[in-house]
Symmetry: C2
Subunit: 200 residues, 2 copies
DNA sequence: ACAGTAATGGCACTCGTGGCGATAAAGCCA
DNA sequence: TGGCTTTATCGCCACGAGTGCCATTACTGT
């Protein structure tokens, strides 16, 4: 999971920290002072590393809460590709989205903490656009493959955007309601959307 | 439209510039050097005003391309409120969205230039989340009114998000294709979405 | 021990942003 | 005309994110 374990000791100087360590320290501080009032210096100090080094692990302060989203995204692409070709397109996409959002509860920081921070901090809400774009692209490419279109065509793009819309709505409702489970809200959203759009 | 005209000369020192003037200067520079490499100093200098003064007109550099979106948004709320109660909800919302996106071609910077800048500059794409949130809220409130729900409930939120998804997709396609007209792409997107979601 | 290698981390710089207070340019009124 | 009030401008300083540059450090392999 964490890079230290995977990465066979290369030749040079050993790493001084890890993504996991940085995220833990950062989330502690975010919890104490809030995201905006936590400086990179503070994070670096708590990790016991130079500020400059943080930028070797995360492109920006805003990327820290997302962790290693690249890897998560790769998992999502696999989920999409694994959907059976027989089922209708919208079912395939919806299933992949729902599966993608079944998270193990043992992560640390928890998925809920992550998403709460991201979705309640204005700056992070804005910055997340970049992650969302990559997520949408995964969907658009899948749809393009199945419909013999280009990812930049109207329908693939649209389905990517609408799937994101549904997911974001589900997340907001889920965060508002402690008892809700995410896959359930996603399903509920989807059926409401169909009810809204489809002529009787 | 512009504030100078409306605002009857108040008592104190007269204003040194206007939103329109700042936007023109800014768009000139954005065109020459790109958004990111245009500093606020450069804009202030071209307008002939102190850098500090720019912040009295726009909350941030990122807000300049959006112009006075508050006013635009107020117009959108009126469009929604003006929809007849008889037609189905999704028709009402869609009509308001389409009407909202009929823009007069005489604006300067043109609507197309504005949107191209916003949608092709990563930083602006991210920052636009704030404008979008206000736009979605207008829809959510309208839907809540018509369905006797709260704006924070699943369905109003969802319809706001999905409408935005559709609009953004339409904008991207519209910008890619010089010959496309925006209302047409919006309609096309909507019918494709219905086709995608609704069981035949 | 020495060379090679790769991560660290300090330094200096740019830029957006916000606070504070001084100042300029008008109108109002005597 | 001269002061008073009002309101916008603008300079100055400080902070934090982000970036390029480069010396340094701590390993591995020979």
């Amino acid at each position: 999971m964490t890079d230290q374990d995977v990465r066979r000791r290369a030749r040079g100087r050993p790493v001084a920290t890890s993504h996991a360590e940085i995220e833990q320290a950062a989330f502690e501080l975010f919890g104490e002072r809030g995201f905006e009032r936590t400086t990179l210096d503070a994070i670096a100090e708590r990790v016991g590393v130079g500020r400059r080094t943080l930028f070797r692990y995360y492109q920006s302060k805003n990327d820290i809460p997302w962790g290693q989203f690249d890897q998560t995204l790769a998992g999502f692409r696999k989920l999409l590709a694994a959907q059976p070709h027989e089922i209708p397109l919208h079912d395939a996409v919806h299933r992949a989205v729902v599966d993608f959002n079944r998270f193990p509860d043992n992560a640390r920081p928890s998925h809920r903490d992550r998403m709460r921070l991201i979705l309640t901090t204005p700056e992070l809400r804005a910055h997340s656009v970049h992650q969302y774009a990559a997520w949408r692209a995964a969907i658009a490419e899948y749809v393009a493959r199945r419909t013999n279109a280009r990812p930049s065509d109207l329908v693939p793009r649209l389905i990517g955007q609408v799937s994101l819309a549904l997911a974001l709505t589900a997340y907001e409702v889920w965060l508002d309601d402690e008892s809700a489970d995410l896959p359930g809200v996603l399903d509920e959203g989807m059926s409401n959307l169909v009810r809204y759009l489809c002529p009787t």
